[in-house]
Every structure is written in structure tokens, then in C-alpha cells.
Symmetry: D5
Subunit: 147 residues, 10 copies
Amino acid sequence: MSRLDVTEKIITTKVAKGLKWSDIAAKVGLSKEWVTAGCLGQMTFNAEQAGVLAEIFSLTDDEKKWLMVVPYKGSLPTSVPTDPLIYRFYELISVYGTTFKELIHEEFGDGIMSAIDFKMDLQREANPMGDRVAITMSGKFLPYKTY
Amino acid sequence: MSRLDVTEKIITTKVAKGLKWSDIAAKVGLSKEWVTAGCLGQMTFNAEQAGVLAEIFSLTDDEKKWLMVVPYKGSLPTSVPTDPLIYRFYELISVYGTTFKELIHEEFGDGIMSAIDFKMDLQREANPMGDRVAITMSGKFLPYKTY
Amino acid sequence: MSRLDVTEKIITTKVAKGLKWSDIAAKVGLSKEWVTAGCLGQMTFNAEQAGVLAEIFSLTDDEKKWLMVVPYKGSLPTSVPTDPLIYRFYELISVYGTTFKELIHEEFGDGIMSAIDFKMDLQREANPMGDRVAITMSGKFLPYKTY
Amino acid sequence: MSRLDVTEKIITTKVAKGLKWSDIAAKVGLSKEWVTAGCLGQMTFNAEQAGVLAEIFSLTDDEKKWLMVVPYKGSLPTSVPTDPLIYRFYELISVYGTTFKELIHEEFGDGIMSAIDFKMDLQREANPMGDRVAITMSGKFLPYKTY
Amino acid sequence: MSRLDVTEKIITTKVAKGLKWSDIAAKVGLSKEWVTAGCLGQMTFNAEQAGVLAEIFSLTDDEKKWLMVVPYKGSLPTSVPTDPLIYRFYELISVYGTTFKELIHEEFGDGIMSAIDFKMDLQREANPMGDRVAITMSGKFLPYKTY
Amino acid sequence: MSRLDVTEKIITTKVAKGLKWSDIAAKVGLSKEWVTAGCLGQMTFNAEQAGVLAEIFSLTDDEKKWLMVVPYKGSLPTSVPTDPLIYRFYELISVYGTTFKELIHEEFGDGIMSAIDFKMDLQREANPMGDRVAITMSGKFLPYKTY
Amino acid sequence: MSRLDVTEKIITTKVAKGLKWSDIAAKVGLSKEWVTAGCLGQMTFNAEQAGVLAEIFSLTDDEKKWLMVVPYKGSLPTSVPTDPLIYRFYELISVYGTTFKELIHEEFGDGIMSAIDFKMDLQREANPMGDRVAITMSGKFLPYKTY
Amino acid sequence: MSRLDVTEKIITTKVAKGLKWSDIAAKVGLSKEWVTAGCLGQMTFNAEQAGVLAEIFSLTDDEKKWLMVVPYKGSLPTSVPTDPLIYRFYELISVYGTTFKELIHEEFGDGIMSAIDFKMDLQREANPMGDRVAITMSGKFLPYKTY
Amino acid sequence: MSRLDVTEKIITTKVAKGLKWSDIAAKVGLSKEWVTAGCLGQMTFNAEQAGVLAEIFSLTDDEKKWLMVVPYKGSLPTSVPTDPLIYRFYELISVYGTTFKELIHEEFGDGIMSAIDFKMDLQREANPMGDRVAITMSGKFLPYKTY
Amino acid sequence: MSRLDVTEKIITTKVAKGLKWSDIAAKVGLSKEWVTAGCLGQMTFNAEQAGVLAEIFSLTDDEKKWLMVVPYKGSLPTSVPTDPLIYRFYELISVYGTTFKELIHEEFGDGIMSAIDFKMDLQREANPMGDRVAITMSGKFLPYKTY
């Protein structure tokens, strides 16, 4: 058994039971973004959170333990994603990556936006021309320092 | 001469003159995100905008015309970016890509967030624990339809 | 169980029963192009459509549910396809890709042809020199706009 | 000097003079699709056609000769295209490639749609919901035969 | 079950029974080149041919049906083949590919040698310095035409 | 200066002077296949042959010397060729590679067809259904031996 | 002119003048590790530091300005480095990468060792069996937090 | 059964029993770095060490034997690692690789730091600004010599 | 069943029984280099040799037959090997490959060292500074000839 | 100027003057294998050796200095070499790599053959069946040790 097996069981159970990520997240008591990432094998749960999920997805005790182990991260099968929805995000980096770089350096100097000390919120934005996906990202700026 | 030559002249001139993207954008009259992307060879300017930029960057008439030609997009030299700042965005897709997919489909059904009918805003977020980079993205949801 | 398992069951059953995609599509009540793509794990069916397919392919209730889940898209095992029929389409992009780009931009300006708000029709074109494959594609033009 | 140099001169001249592919094609007396592909270094012109183009683009005699040499084809710098417009066509193959395969084989048996005995037409399709790009492809079906 | 499973059963049975491709081809009534390619999952058999093969390889009825389905072609696991015998053919293209191109264009103009309307014969060529492999290929020339 | 520069000069001169490979080969006194490969930087000429070519292509003394140096072989820019004519040969290996392997081993046992002790002849094959390209290859069989 | 040009001038000047990185770093007043990385185009200097370097390497005013621009980082030409010295570090990650992961997570929980808030010291370690390279790395632990 | 199966059993057992690498290492009597690498299939144990591990992980006699066989090393599934923790080490090589090279050559001349005659120590470094990961590496310098 | 299954059974049995390749080779009556390569699925045994191995490794009759079938060669999972021992050989080609080329051509003219008509011997070379691995390779020179 | 420029000048001069590596090596006073590798940019010369080479190849003082700088090693343009002579060595690793691994570990235990503390000799081996290339390699065995 591995974390991957547990992830697959979670996904299969979710389809079979017709559950929603936002409801699962509400039961865990955290944001839907973080809980979904965790259930998909990208984050680590503590004992209490794992207990809630074990009940929702009928996990055995051994399966539950895997939710508390830090997983090998990276959720995509290829370095350039083939799925159209996920590819669009990759395209944004391809087109806007150097723009991100220029503007963050102009504002903050040399360093990066952390992808660890990071949070994200995804919402529907009503719009008469067609609803929009609104994503708000917030990551700590980490400066390179001399030594 | 190609669009790439013009892009390189813009970047070189910006360094030599010590210009800032936000000032340049203000003169063009558009957001700093879009103008920077355009100057880096990812967007197309109209005649008036190109005229402003030609003056700022001392472009010849032929160079100015290239700003009005749709460029071959993609601003990165490798499919997995090596620059740490840009890589962090790639990592976010690697870790959160399937989460984006699950949550957008849960909310909207099958389809994508457009990377074309898209806008973005990048701001400094003051924080006593260290300032943060805040990015807000808004892209139209485009549904797959049956036919 | 995953969507891939269901796709494989559909393909195996189709061969065993000797079914035709055009007949299957007629029963579902949609175009043969869209229904084939869906059965091959690239589109999402609604409950009624999934019900028709479940009967045709003798799917269990759990298998049927997977047809209603948005799949991870991308139907090819390699980025440059090895199958000669599919490769010819890839070659057309390799040879004509920059031509598509030039002519669409000449007609519409900066933007893309949507691959989401898209439909397609594939027909036999009788011809004394040898019949031809006729493919008609129609995708909405999506313009980049300034912001 | 190589064909690539001639292609680049053609493109640079087109931008400087503000020419349109459809006008150039009209002067050559062939479709805009084929002439654009040829000017972008993917097709071979005969002496008369090359003469027309040499005049339009102010080519020297040696440059004109290169238009009559069969080029090394393939117009894209990477196997997975980064440009959003061209990528959308690649995505269509990724998503619909196996569908093309199934439907062509169902209709014609084993073989391919020729990418050589092939023609294409690209038009604007007026639509109140937003104009569409309409592409019609016609390629001879070539069957595999036993021997 | 898939075509791959049937191919593997054919190969395993061939080894276990100690059969020869030339004998199998003789029973099918076609060239050894075509029949071997078909048994290795690269060509499609008609009902009668499939019947002969089903008997030779003890295939079930469902397995036999797969022989009549057009397979996803491409018989090699990597884009640059590792097997020394197959690599030599790849090397010939690497070394002689541009020569093929020059000489075919010199003789025929722009176009290709078809890999579909194609046949091949492989023979032993006795030679006192060591026997040789003689391969004769014949493919229809397909010209690009203007439109 | 490198062999590549000499190769490019040969190709450029050939286009400018409108020469044919078969005529050049006749002057060198060898097959058109071998001479073309050599002129394209894949084979090594002796002093006499290099002298003939130097005259044809107006090479300097130093350029002529490069024709007598063994080149770094491999004439294609990518591992999977993009040019349609050359790709067809690659496709033949993809589809028929395992067939080559099976039939050569069946006839000769373990070993390879040499790509070094090798010759090739390319001819037009008249055919009322459309002329064909006929390629005859002959390579020494080299057996693996035990030791 | 680009940062790459400045980096190349620095390296060429260093060879021509026979300078040592440790001496250069002493003049700049920072560690040899950081100054070398900066001179190789991986870090950003402030005005004072750039002034010192401009004098050492005889940089023009425009060249000096490039030292104060955040560079596009990544100093290696291939994703798997070919140089034996650099490859050994890559091999350490290949062999010990999962060990790093296990031990850091065991000690700290889910998170990473920062490569930004990071410093490094490289020393000779005298040893009668052959001197050793001693590298001490120190990077801040950054935890993933729930949100 | 293969070494991979044994590695997976070790990992699964460790999660199920909630063991720690540092405790396991203490029982084996070696550093936690080396023992962890060995348990993850990167090092070879002697009979006594394997005996201790067999008891801890309830290995069969055949499984224990695999711990004494030199494994095929390399613990990562992709050449550029996707896991954020492991990627940071890869990034350090990308950014600092040429710096390592310059400084080691400056100090030692041409040669490498051995990745075989190598040891490593990983510790928590308490720090009021946030604890740090401290890694000390020591590898023998191996000079290239003339011959 | 495939040759791979037989190879894996051989390796597993060797570990379980604690056999040595040199002893196995002695029983087969050939060099340890060739027999090891054959057992690892890279060479073909005759009936007598296969019989000896079948006894040593307790192979069934069908498994034994696979030893007499020419395998698909290539024993490594990635094009750049990750295992440190095997990588060192790859590095030798990376560093010395052009040297091999220059020196063989200087001595023999255009052609190659055969990897088929080839033998190899691997021995321990006692040395007070540390024992050495001594490898002697002998491959027939195969000249390119004109035709 | 870079080491690459110096390497190219050396190669160009060698062709123009018709020099031989063995003669050059004799003047330097070292093996032809090592001197050739050094001239091709893979090894570092001391001042005296560089002086000899500077005279032979008419290098300027600055060019001579580059011969004393440790180069970025790796002499091949692609990870799988296309040149037939060099590819044969790559094929030997592909076919015999796991054999090297098994036999070295059987004789020496866990560790590697050094590619640094390494020497090599390449000779012609007269043989009535055709002369052979004989290569003798000797590399120190480096054991992994526990810590």
C-alpha cells in the first residue's frame, strides 16, 4: 500500500458516493483549496483531520496513517500538462512568466514569491458576459540576501 | 529584424535608462501587467500605444511596426523554467493543478478558465510577518457544449 | 476503478459486440464526433446520456457514474503521436501551424480559435480520383483584450 | 544564404511594407493558405510564382532561386507549440486524435487521410454570439493494402 | 482485453510452438513482411485471414475480433530505438535522411514517398565476403500540388 | 571554419548554379547516393574526389581539406524528423521496425544488418497508377558471436 | 547587450588577468560563494558592489547597470549536467534525494529547506588519505501551513 | 521479487508501525543518513545489518538477501524532480553549480568532489528567526592526472 | 510470458540461491561477460547453453525456449543512466567520445569500431594505491566504402 | 573569447596544417588519448604543455591562458550521440551496462570504477579477418563505505 493507493481510494469513493469537495472541506474545517490538494495527495493531514477523512471515505486504520505521511508531491503525469483546463495555467506562465518576474522584482527586489508560505482562494465571479473564475493567490515574498 | 530584436532593444534601453514598468504603463494608459507582457513580446499594441512606446524606447519606424504585429508567444526558454521565481509558479501548477481542475469542475462543470479572456493584477500586500505578493486572476469560464 | 477502466471496458465491449460509433451516437442523440470523444474519455456525459451508454455497454452503476465525471483529458500516449493516421494531423500543424497563425491574425487580430467552444464534422467526400476525408471545424474566435 | 534567410526577409519586408497575405496570394493566383505556407518556407514555388514574389518582396536573383528549392519542412521551434493559437490545434489532436482515428477507420477501413494530397480553406463565420473561425480540410484517403 | 494482449499471446505462442513467420505467412497467403507486421499489431486482417491466424495461435473468438480492428500503430518503446538491429535503420535515416530528400526531390519534385501505398521485400543475398540483407522498398510518390 | 561551413557553401552554390546531384556524382565517378551524402557532410572524400568537388563548388584550399576530414555524422536537427519526406522513413521504422527484427533474425540468427558495409540505390519506378520511389538497400549481416 | 554579455566579459577578463574569486570577493566584502554566483549571473549586486566589480573587470557604465538587474537564473545548459564535477552534485540528489526528504520531514514535518534564505560555505578539509571538499549548507525550514 | 518490492515493504511497514529513521539507524549502529538511503534502496547492507533490518521490518529470508545485493541506484522518478523539497536541492545546483565548479577548481585544480567517498550529516539548527536545516557534506577531492 | 519475465526469474533465483556469474559462466563454458549479458536479456543462447541455464535457474521448458529467442536489446531504463557505476561509463563517452572518434579515424580512416563483432574482458588489477578495474575491449574496425 | 573558441581554432588549424594527434602528443610528452581530449576541450594543460600547444597551433597569449582553465566538460551535442562511431560506444553501455554493474559488484562489492582516476590506451590490433580496435581502460575502484 502507498499514498497513491489511498488517493485513488478517496477519488473512487468520492465518485461512488457523489460527494463534493466543499462539503468535505467544511467537515474538516479548512479551506476547500487546501483540503482538496491534501486529498489528492499533495498535503499532509494531522491526526484529527485524518480521522474525519477516514470516516468520510471509509479508510482503514493503515490507510488513515498514510494521510499523515508527507507525500512525494507533483500531481501531474507530464511536464507539459495535456488536460486543457490545467494547460491554461501552464500557458499563463509561458506567456506571463517573465512579466511576473519583472513586476515582482520591480516591487520587491531580488527574491521569490513563496509557494510554501502560500494560500489561495478560488471563487465564481458572476458576470453578465459569462461568469468568471476568480483566483486570489497570496505568497510571502522571500528576498535573496548577501552573506 | 524580428520582434525578438525589438524586445531586446526595449529591455536594453530600459536598463540603460533606468525606467520602471509601472511608469511606462502609466504613459501607455493601461495596466502594468498587460504593458509589461506586451513589451516582453507577448501582446500586440495598437498604433497609438506603439507610438508612445517608440518614443520611450527610441524605436525606429520599422521597429515600431513590429509592436503592432501579433508575436509568436511563449516567453520561456525551457518547458520546465529554471528561474526560481518563475519555477515557483510552475510548482504551484504541479502541486495544485489537479485541485484547480476539481474545484472549477465542481463549481462550473466541464470547461476551462480562459487564458485569453483573462486579466490579472499583482500587488504588494503589507504584512508584519513579511510582505506578501498578492495576485488576482480573473478568467472567463468557457464550457464544453455538446453538438 | 477509474475513468480509464471504464473507457477500456467501453472499447472492449464495442469490439466484442461489433458496434459502430455512428449507431451509438444516434442512440445518444448527438453527433458521432462528440459521442466518440466522450466514450474515449475526453468529454462528460449527463445522466440521461450516461444511462443510454450504460445500457449499450453493460456498465454497472458505479461505472456509469464515471461517465458523468470530468476526465483528465489528452488521449495520446506520446507528445509526438506514433500512429500514422494521427501523426498526419500533427504534421499539418507542423507544416501549416504558422500559416494558421498568420491568416487568423490577418482576419481577426490577436487572439485564438477556441478549442472549447468548438465543433467538428467529419464526412466522406466522394471523388473519382479516390474518396477524400472532409473535416469541417468551427471554433469561436476569442480576442485578447487590453486591460 | 539559406531558405531560412529568404523566409526571414519575406516576413520582415511584409511587416515593413504592411502587406496582406490575401493580397499577395491574389497576385500569385493561388489560395491564401497555400501561398502563406510557401512564403513561410513550407512549400515550393515554380519559376513564375517565384518571379511574382521576388518583385513583391524585392528578392535578389539568388534569393528567388531558393523559393524554387524544396524546403526542409516543419515551421515550429518546439514539438509541443508554445504559442496559444497554435497550441489550440495541438490540443485538438490531443483530445480528438483517437476520435479522428476511430471515425475515419469506421468509414474507410485501415489507412490515413493524406497530408500531402490535401487542401484547406480558412474563413470567417459570422455569428451573433461572436464570429467563428471555420476551417475546411480535405485530404485523400489512402488505404493500406496487403501485399 | 486489448490488441496488445492479443499481440503478446501471438508472440508467446509462436515461441512456445517454435513457428516461423514465413510459414505463417504462407498459410495466410500474403508476404512474410506484411503478415509479420500484422501479427505484431501494425496491420489489420480481414475475417478470413484472422480465421487462419486464430487457428494457428489458438485465439478465442474475442481475440480474433481484435485482429480485424485497426490498431494504434508504432511498434517501438522509445523514439530513438535501443535495439542494435533496429537502431541501424534509424542511423541510416540520421545519416542518409537528407540524401533521400535531395534525390527524391531532384527526381520527382516536391512531395513524399508514401509509407502507406508501400510494399517491401526482405531477402538474403549470398556473398562470399559474408551474406547480406537485401531490402527492396517501393512507395508511391505523392506530389504536393498547389490549390 | 568547420565542415558545416563547407557543407553550407556547397548547398548554397548548388542552388545558385542550378546543379544536379546526379551530374555532380557522375563527375566524381561514384553513385549519386554516396556523393550526395558526402556533400551533405556525412561521408569523407579522398584527395582526388575532393579536388573534383572543389572545382565544381569553387572551394578554397582550406575548404577542400575539410572534405577529407571524417565528419561528425547525423544530418537531422531533431531526433524525430519534422520534414514529411524524411518522417515517412522514420514512420516505416516505427511501424516495421519489429518486423525487420523478426525476419532478419529468422533468416540469419542474432546480429544486425550493417549500416557501414552498406550500399543503397534509389530509382524511379514507372507505374500507370502513379510512379513509385524504389529503394534497394544492401547491408552485410554481422552476427553476434559468443566468446 | 544583455546580462549574459556582461557575464562573459567578466569570465574572459578574469582569465586574461589571472584573477581569483576569493580575492575578488574580499574586495567586494562578501563571501566567495555569493560573489562568484553573482559574477556568474545568478545574483544581483547593489550599486556599491557593482562599482567595485566594474573597476576590477573594466566594465562600462551600461555594463555595470546590468549587474544591478535581477538575472534570469539557472547556470547550466542542460537539465542533466554533463560536466563531471557538477554531475556529482546531481547524482547526490538522485541517490540521496529521497533520504533528504525523509529526514527533513521526520525532524521538521511537511515543508522545505529554503533555497532562497540560504547560505553556503565551501572549504578544503585536510586529510592524510587525500584532502576533502567540505560544504556546509544552511537553509531556513519553511513549513506548509493549513488555511 | 526485486529490491524495489523489498523497499516498498520497508516503507509500508514503517508507516504502519510508526517507526522513525533515527531509531532504526541507532539499532543498525550507523548514521541516520546512510541507513535511510540504504532502506530506500540506494545502499547495500552486510549480513549483520540486514539481519537487524529484517527483524525490524519483518522481512522473509529471501527479502533479507535483497538488502545485501547492490541496487540499481537513482531514487527519483523524473530527471527534474517534481517534489518541492527535493526540487530545492536541484535548484541549488542549477543556480550554484557553476559556482561549485569555479571554487573547487580554484582551490584544488582539475578534478571532482567524490560522490562515493562521501559522507553527509543533516541537523536542525535552532534560530530565533525560524529554525534552519544544516547539511554538512564531505567528499574526497579526486584530481584528474595526466598519463 | 516474455523474455523479461525469464530475465527477472533468473535474477531472483540468483539472489535466492546466492550464485555467482563467474561460476554460471564456467558451467556454460563461455566468458563471464557474454554469459552475464545473455542472462540479463541481451544475448541469445543455443539449445545446449539454454539447457545448462535452465537447470541452474530451474526454468520450465517454455521459459528455456525464450533464452533461444533474440531479445529486444537495451538494458537500461533511461537514456542517461542514473546508476553511478553505469553513469561513469556514460561520462567517459561524454568526455572522451570525440577523442575516440579522432584517434580511430587517425589510425583507420572513416568507419567504426564494431559493437557486434566485439569482445570484452573485465579483470581486477591489483594496485597498492587501491585496486583497479581493467577492461579490455576489442572490436573489428568496419570501414565505410564508396560505391 | 571562450575555451570553445580556442578549441575551434585548434581543430581548424589542425585541418589546415594537416597535423596528427599522435605527433602533437609526442611533442607535449603525454599519451595521445589525454592530449587529444585536452585539445578538444576536456582536460586542463599546465603552463609548459600549453606553451607547446600554443606554438603548434599559433595561439595568442590570451588563447593559451584558456588551455590552463578547467573547461566545462562534455564533448557531445546530444545526450544520445548521432555519430555512428560514437554511438557504438553508447550502444555498448546500453547492452552491456548492467553486465558491467553485475561483474564489478561481484568482484569488488558496492562502488564504482572511477572515471577520474582513469587512463586509457587505444591501439590497432592486427587481425587477418580485418584489423581490430583495441581499447584498454583502467580505473580505480572506489568503494561506498558506511558512516
